[in-house]
C-alpha cells in the first residue's frame, strides 16, 4: 500500500469499515480463486505459500497465514491420489490495516454451522 491511498476519494465510509471491506475482498478472493485446485500431499505446502503470496500482493494486507488440512488432503484423495481443494480444508487469517483501523478476517470451517465461515475476528481502531 502506498503511503497515500490513491483510491481514497471513492470511498464513503470510515477507516474501520474500509478495513472490514478489504478483509472481505481478500477472503472472497482466496476462496473463489483457489477452490477446485488439484492438490496432493507433496504439493500442499507450495500451494499454501502461493495463496499467502497472492494475498500479500494486495492492498492493505499486513499479514496472512494459510493452512490446508493435511488429513483432508491425504484422506480424501481419489483414485489418482489427489483432492480438489474445498473451502472446508482451508484456514486463512488475514490482517488488514487502513488508516488507524486494523481488521483480522478469518475463513475456516465451523463444525457447528457445517459451513466454511468468513468472519471478522477482531476489529480495532
Amino acid at each position: 500500500m502506498p503511503e497515500h491511498d490513491p483510491a481514497k476519494k471513492w470511498f464513503r465510509c470510515t477507516d474501520a469499515e474500509r478495513a472490514a471491506f478489504e478483509a472481505g475482498i481478500k477472503l472472497g478472493a482466496v476462496y473463489h480463486q483457489f477452490v477446485g485446485l488439484a492438490v496432493d500431499r507433496k504439493g500442499v505446502e507450495a500451494v499454501e505459500r502461493a495463496i499467502e503470496a497472492s494475498v500479500r500482493a494486495q492492498p492493505c494486507v499486513e499479514d496472512v497465514t494459510v493452512r490446508i488440512d493435511r488429513k483432508a488432503v491425504e484422506g480424501g484423495a481419489g483414485p489418482y491420489g489427489y483432492v480438489s481443494l474445498a473451502a472446508e480444508m482451508l484456514e486463512v487469517e488475514v490482517t488488514v490495516t487502513y488508516g488507524k483501523a486494523t481488521a483480522v478476517g478469518t475463513l475456516r470451517y465451523v463444525p457447528e454451522l457445517r459451513y466454511p465461515l468468513m468472519y471478522i475476528k477482531e476489529l480495532k481502531v
Copy 2:
C-alpha cells in the same frame, strides 16, 4: 439470509462493518471466480445473469447488477472471436444489508487510476 443470522456470534464488529465486510466478499468472489472466462458477443448476457444469480445466492445480498462492456467483448476478440473476461470489462454493483446497515459496493474500472477498483459507494445505518 435467514431472519436470525446463525453466524452472528463469531463476529466482533458493528452492523455497518459487517455490511462492508460482506460487500467485500461478494466483489472479491465475482472477480476471482469469473476473470479468465471465455466470452463472446452471443454469450455475454447469459454470463451477466449467471454472475448476478451467483451473488444473489449469497448471504445478505439485497440487490446486484452486473454489466460487461460490450465494446471490449467485440473489439478485443482474438483470432477465434472471443475474449477472456478481464476485470476491466466488469461493472458490478451489489447492495448488502445487515441488521440496520446497508452497504453499496462497486467494482468498476476507474480510468484515473487505470485500475478496476472495488469500493464502498455508500454505507448507511
Copy 3:
C-alpha cells in the same frame, strides 16, 4: 472457428488428436473456472446457460450441454441456503470438431470411481 485455423502450424498431431486435445481444454476450463461458485435453486439454470455460452465461445466447439444436479443443490444447501458448486454436481458433454475428426468429451461423476471423471466418450474421423 474460422474456416482456416490460424494456429494450425504450431500443432504436431493428427486431426483426431487435436480434437481430443481441444475437448480436454474445454472440460478442464469448465471445472477450474466454475467449481466453487455459489449456486442456489433459483440461480442454477442461469449458471448452466452461462457455462454453455462460455464453452460455445471457444474454438472447435460444435455443441455443449451442461447440467447441474438439482438434488445436490437443494439437499446440500448450508445455513444460508446455497451450495458451493462441486465437480460432482456437474454433467458436461462437449462435441468438438477439427478437420474431419469429431470428439465427444464428458465430465460426470462416476460412482464406481467416486470421482468426477473427464473422458472421451466417442472419437471418430
Copy 4:
C-alpha cells in the same frame, strides 16, 4: 497415476488421443484456475511453484514447467504494485504420458496470433 488406470474402460480412443486429451485438461485447468490471481514481484516464484505442484498432482503428468513473465509483472503493476495474472504472462509446458504415448502440451503467448495459444508441441507413440 496408478499402474492400472482405473478409468480406462470409459475411454473410446487410442493412447495418443488420450495423452492429447489429458494435456488439454491440464492446460485448461492452469489457465482457468489461475488467471486473475494477484501477483507481485516478491510472490511470483511461489505462484510458479504452486501451479507446477497442482499440475503434477493430476493423472498422467510426467513433467511440467511454469514461467510467469517478470517484465509483465513488474511493468504492468497498477497503483498498488501488483498485477492480475493474465494468460499472456504464462508459459507452461506439460509432458503427459499414457500407455506408450507421450504428449507435450504448451501454453504460451504467440505474438503472431496475439493470442495465448495452447498447442501440442510433440506427440509420439
